[in-house]
């Protein structure tokens, strides 16, 4: 079973590499940057930030606030990541009627406000003797 899955995987991977060859010759730097950018940014920047954030939250905040604030930070981070393609438009196509014409910054701020209101309410309604996390 493992071997079947593994061999199939190697086959699909190889097919993808073949399909990618024209792109490699066409724009190697841009492609390479996007392929390596994710792992590098994640391992060297994002994950250490999360680790430091987790340590700070668990040392600074009283137990009943740790989980809600930790979760709030995670959800906020995901929302910020999703907003980037809409807020940083240097390389974007033109805005056309009905597309990409929403107030995205206001939308992000509203979404974050909803998240942090939820965090505050959750923190307040948790009993004082709740363990550090649910």
């Amino acid at each position: 079973m493992r071997w079947v899955i593994g061999v199939l995987g190697v086959g699909l991977l190889g097919w993808g590499v073949v399909e990618l060859v024209p792109v490699v010759f066409d724009s190697p730097l841009s492609l390479g940057g996007w392929l390596l950018g994710g792992p590098v940014l994640h391992d060297a920047l994002l994950a250490p930030l999360v680790a430091v954030g987790g340590v700070v939250v668990s040392r600074v905040l009283p137990p009943r606030w740790r989980a809600p604030v930790g979760a709030g930070l995670v959800v906020s981070g995901v929302l910020v990541v999703l907003s980037i393609p809409y807020l940083w438009r240097t390389f974007s196509g033109p805005v056309t009627p009905g597309l990409h014409d929403r107030p995205y910054l206001a939308g992000l701020l509203i979404a974050l406000a909803v998240v942090w209101t939820t965090v505050v309410i959750t923190g307040l309604v948790r009993r004082e003797n709740t363990p550090a996390t649910p």
Binding site: G11, W15, L36, A67, R102, A111
Partner: protein
């Protein structure tokens, strides 16, 4: 300060039990995304054996909505998955053996390809292109690499996954960070839900006002390519639609029996919008031109350049009475931006193939 070691990460949010669960969800998201992506690719670049049904009319709207939504959902899942195994990055020695080196290498390929697919995908949905390559080719090729590397990873880890998912008891580990194991899984679920809710309104009408990062705005049928960008201007009385060897004036098209139908425009970029279209069934036009029913038809636009100035309607679609050469949208004559004098609107098709400013239907 020193570089951390694997053992420094004491939080219960790391380890196989978390990793296998989130991995399972992520695997489902990747699977859905891959299959719906292949469908969309198949419709746009059909192999000889490929056919795509014209009914239900919303089929492509659903498959492409699933494609973009499962991709968005995979972003928080991927980040959570990587967090659960992050300590492994600091495992030493860096390489223990040849198989170990191959495994680490395959994981780098998997992570690189996964980030590539998800990030280029969400940028493309926003019509934002901070790269030099042609998105469809690269996104398609790297999808095979990501799924291939994922299968290799599953094959390598199968015993670990099986044990982590079936073993019911484990030493409880104290919470050392902000979140417990359960709290982390719950947070991952909430973050995934938030990501979906923030974007899915582009295709789910009743969430349109909730989704702050939906690509389309709250009202109206979006225009993806404006007449100005396509360098098309309004036509005069001399305009004729050519179908095979027969020509039709706009007045003749308007005089033919009209069909009115509610059909969605479903963009490859994941948004969709329903409208009420009125026009002449392509089937009737082909009949008038003496073309056998169910022929493949090449649709040519007045647009001179552009990647999508023509499309091919397969026989399944030309035989469907709801495949229209639309003259009106929501009761009004088509505006120039929406394809005046006429455009194709066919059920269950990518929007990019619903050719606007049609000048010719050529039988293949």
């Amino acid at each position: 300060m020193r570089i951390p070691e694997e053992a420094d990460f004491a939080s219960p949010t790391h380890g196989p039990r978390v990793s296998a669960r989130i991995g399972l969800w992520l695997g489902i998201a990747f699977g859905l995304c891959f299959i719906t992506g292949l469908i969309s690719h198949g419709i746009q670049h059909p192999a000889a054996w490929f056919t795509w049904p014209s009914r239900p009319v919303s089929l492509y709207r659903i498959t492409q909505g699933v494609h973009v939504t499962s991709g968005v959902a995979a972003i928080p899942l991927l980040l959570a998955k990587l967090w659960s195994v992050y300590p492994k990055l600091f495992g030493r020695p860096l390489v223990k053996s040849v198989p170990h080196a191959l495994e680490r290498g395959s994981i780098l390929v998997l992570i690189g390809a996964s980030f590539f697919e998800l990030l280029t995908g969400v940028f493309n949905v926003a019509q934002n292109y901070p790269w030099a390559f042609f998105f469809p080719t690269a996104h398609y090729a790297v999808a095979w690499i990501a799924v291939g590397a994922l299968l290799v990873h599953i094959a390598v880890k199968l015993p670990v996954i099986r044990e982590a998912l079936t073993r019911s008891e484990e030493e409880p580990r104290p919470t050392t960070g902000a979140l417990s194991r359960r709290g982390f899984l719950l947070t991952t679920g909430v973050a995934t839900g938030a990501a979906v809710l923030a974007t899915v309104g582009g295709t789910v009408p009743w969430l349109r006002n909730v989704s702050v990062f939906a690509s389309r705005s709250a009202t109206g049928v979006p225009v993806n390519r404006r007449a100005e960008a396509a360098q098309v201007s309004t036509v005069d009385e001399s305009w004729r639609l050519t179908v095979g060897d027969v020509e039709f004036s706009l007045a003749e098209l308007r005089a033919m029996p009209q069909t009115t139908a509610d059909l969605p425009i479903a963009c490859v970029e994941g948004w969709s919008a329903s409208a009420t279209w009125t026009g002449v069934p392509v089937k009737d036009l082909l009949e008038r031109a003496g073309v056998p029913a169910g022929s493949d038809v090449r649709v040519e636009s007045l647009e001179q350049g552009g990647l999508y100035r023509s499309s091919t309607l397969p026989g399944t679609h030309t035989a469907d009475p709801l495949t229209l050469l639309a003259l009106r949208m929501n009761g009004e004559v088509l505006t120039l931006d929406h394809g005046y004098p006429c455009r194709v609107i066919a059920p269950s098709r990518p929007g990019v193939l619903q050719t606007k400013w049609v000048s010719r239907l050529e039988v293949r």
